[in-house]
Symmetry: C2
């Protein structure tokens, strides 16, 4: 491991100034870092070097990787729309290993437990390190200090920003496509392995030097819609299966049955209503977690009662959002990813269910994005501290177990609500200071627990809006102390070694925090 210089950033965190050999600006405060220069740009190609009949098929992934000039030290990217059912990303890395290639950087939009065998590839030297969300086993491997390089965690928007700004140069993008044509046009909304949108792979297709599309559902040109454009694609590989459909999408997503969590969901919905956010033409985003789904159901009933219609809701979409649109409660679903079969069916067929990309929704280095136009967003967290800083990456024991996803990007909503139990598995969620800071408190407006609703004192407008309501508005410190008194004190401090294993990037590419190695 190389030596590090460290600096204390504007969030008060100690962060490395060099990450994997590249200098990195520290976090300078929300909206403080001013980018300069021009976007990255891929090489100019020529039609004379591609088949005139548009047939870019090769017999297998091995041949395609060889044609792309795969060699030691390259950056290989993949996307996570197939989630824990993905077979393509791992195969690409394993084939690279069979070809004797070493020291690759794997740059997935996210990794899942199905990618655990990448640990073997890291132990063998095929993969040097991972830049991308590391959920589960790969996160634990990183926390234990086993990875050679530093993990770099970025939000969905931060990943686009990093590619677009040239912070990360992708040599070869491998795009698993539920439907594609021989030219490389591809979508995720059709085929036996349909996953919905392919938005997370869009930046890869535009900016990578070489792009391989892998599909198990080849259709004659033109593949419609072409969310991935064949004009950016070098090779197409047909395989029997790109993944396990049962793990790509859930048959159904489930609303929480926990009374505490149902109460949280109801508080959130009532807050959105009583603060005046729920009004004709409004918008909201909530994820696919149990609380978020329950919130959407509570809000839906309140919208019906009040005769209110949304202009748009943001996915991750599920059957619950689809039902809202079908019942006329929203004009549009603007969707980043689809979580269940009902949502996949809807995005494939409903003209108002629109796939988006991290470019439209989350890229902070664009001319605006959709995230800041959302009236209210409901998110989770592993920890929230008394300054409203949020953590979604590590647990209180310091272990890296989750990616950032769109979480950081969503914080720019007009009203950001963290819906969290005050206690999780007898560990308090409200803490004095988060183990890892994923989002600065100034962007987190409301924290809703089963023990009350804490409003960020910066949002005097929200405090005023719910004054006199029957909502249990309480100071965050008070809820935290109540929990501690019940479970017998503060949580134990994590046992960490003074050696960085990963960094948390902010949406503008600066380093917001460091993840430290855990003690054995």
């Amino acid at each position: 491991m190389t030596d590090f210089g460290f600096v204390q950033n504007a969030a008060g965190r100690k962060v490395p100034t060099v990450v994997n050999g590249k200098p990195q600006p520290p976090f300078q405060g929300v909206g403080a870092f001013q980018p300069s220069g021009s976007k990255a740009a891929p090489p100019i190609r020529s039609c004379q070097d591609y088949p005139a009949d548009g047939d870019k098929r090769l017999p297998d992934l091995r041949t395609a990787l060889e044609r792309c000039g795969l060699r030691d030290g390259m950056t290989l990217s993949s996307h996570h729309h197939l989630r824990n059912g993905d077979r393509v990303a791992l195969e690409a890395l394993q084939v690279a290993g069979e070809l004797g290639v070493k020291d690759l950087i794997w740059f997935p939009s996210a990794s899942f437990p199905c990618h655990e065998p990448v640990i073997d590839l890291m132990n063998q030297g095929v993969v040097h390190h991972i830049e991308g969300s590391m959920n589960g086993p790969l996160g634990r491997y990183t926390s234990q200090g086993e990875m050679r390089g530093l993990g770099v965690l970025r939000s969905h928007g931060g990943r686009w920003q990093a590619i677009q700004d040239g912070d990360v140069h992708i040599d070869i993008a491998v795009i698993a496509a539920p439907t594609a044509d021989p030219f490389g046009n591809a979508n995720g909304s059709h085929g036996p392995s349909a996953c919905g949108s392919l938005g997370f792979a869009l930046a890869d297709s535009i900016y990578a030097d070489h792009v391989i599309v892998v599909t198990d559902n080849l259709v004659p040109f033109p593949c419609i819609p072409w969310q991935i454009q064949g004009n950016n694609v070098d090779y197409v590989v047909e395989v029997d299966s790109i993944g396990d459909p049962s793990k790509i999408v859930s048959g159904t997503t489930q609303i929480t049955k926990s009374p505490d969590r149902l109460l949280i969901a109801e508080y959130v919905a009532r807050f959105v209503r009583d603060a005046g956010i729920m009004k004709d033409g409004f918008s909201f985003q909530a994820g696919a977690g149990g609380i978020a789904l329950a919130f959407a159901q509570f809000l839906k009933e309140m919208m019906k009662d009040a005769g209110v219609k949304a202009r748009f809701v943001r996915g991750g979409s599920t059957q619950y959002l689809v039902e809202m649109m079908e019942e006329g409660l929203t004009d549009y679903i603007l969707d980043g990813q689809t979580f269940d079969l009902a949502a996949v069916e809807s995005i494939a067929t409903h003209p108002h269910h629109i796939p988006t990309s991290p470019f439209t929704s989350y890229n902070y280095h664009g001319k605006g994005n959709f995230a800041s136009m959302v009236d209210a967003v409901v998110l989770g967290a592993t920890e929230v501290d008394v300054n409203f800083n949020g953590n979604v990456n590590t647990h209180s024991d310091g272990v890296l177990l989750h990616g950032i996803g769109g979480w950081q990007n969503c914080l720019f909503s007009a009203c950001t609500i963290l819906a969290v139990p005050a206690v999780r598995d007898r560990i308090p969620v409200l803490v004095e200071e988060v183990t890892t800071i994923t989002g600065p408190g100034e962007l987190i407006d409301v924290v809703v627990t089963e023990r009350g609703i804490a409003i960020n004192p910066l949002r005097t407008d929200l405090l005023d809006a719910v004054e006199g309501s029957d909502l249990p508005i309480r100071p965050i410190q008070e809820i935290k102390e109540e929990v501690e008194s019940i479970i017998g004190g503060k949580p134990e401090a994590p046992q960490l070694i003074d050696r960085p294993v990963a960094v948390i990037k902010w949406v503008d590419g600066t380093v917001l925090d460091t993840v430290w190695q855990i003690a054995d």
Copy 2:
């Protein structure tokens, strides 16, 4: 006017080596020029500099141009989807004139007679020169040597290539949008000034430093579909009218009534059938001219008789293509632009009527494009010579009167057919050598006239395919001589001065030919 060095290029034409101060590679043969380097890239922006609520509206175009930092010598771009009904491009240039700005380069995707007042702006020094198709009056002005710089004519694909490769840097793009939202998402398929696709403005939106959307149909976010993405847009200006709808699209497009031209159209259709091109899953492209429309109708009947269905047809679309799709004779219409009301209605509502862009269809410096995947294309020409070279830009008197459009790009079709009368207004169309070479003969496979069908000797496969058919296959020289014997000899040579006024770019950015000033 600056001095020019000249060189003879691979088409045997004398072309300048420097155009408007920039060195230019001469045409080197089809597929011979190898580009290098990376694509152009616009500046990195940041959300902190754009309104968080997504409202980018400004009161008027003047304010928007000022905010974009308009100054002398800048390049302003516009698109031609509003055709001869456009009000926005001229207004942008006139406002620039009112602001006292000089020496602009106007970079339209095409200009029309409605833009004739740009001549005044050129005489006043507001506009220095035009790079873009110059149809009608602006072409004549150029031919007369009145423009200060050299005109640069590019195909639709060549325009994308030039922007993408950095040959042309757009400072400010002004995009007239039939529908837009305050964030800048825009489309051409809806609203009172609907024109169909906005594909020609897409490169401008992606690569320009500053982008202004001008609309007369503002809708609440999100404007769906968003062919132009608001994430690339700086400002939105609402106006009463972006154009004259009656001149934006025709109520109906008209099939030729000329017996000669109907015969040509029938010959083309029979050739496509008898050469074996018309088979299940095939594709074709034909434009909106009278012969092309008649061809499509003849072919449609032949397809019905034979029970043949196309996989896709390429627009410019009209009611005739729309009817083909509605009757199940093609799976898809892949559309570059829409020429009549029926086509606009169809592209706005039919899920298999797909807008394309010059990137997908025509850009030669991509990883392939759609044009070479089309089985047969039917095009016109002002002149064709005995070596099958084609001219679409000048007339036999040497006057520049037409743009290139997609014509050059379409030549890469598997079978390129020029459907032309042998004589037009008593002037032969078949000549010894074209006045201006817009397309090299090696890419032109068949020339169909009312006096017979000439097949390029390079295409022995096509000659074999129609051997024994009752089609009037004849050598091109023989048809030419027959016409000359009837009308009394060859056409007069144009009276030209040895001073270049414009250049014709090939699809790869090299200079294919020069347009020379006409004698008074």
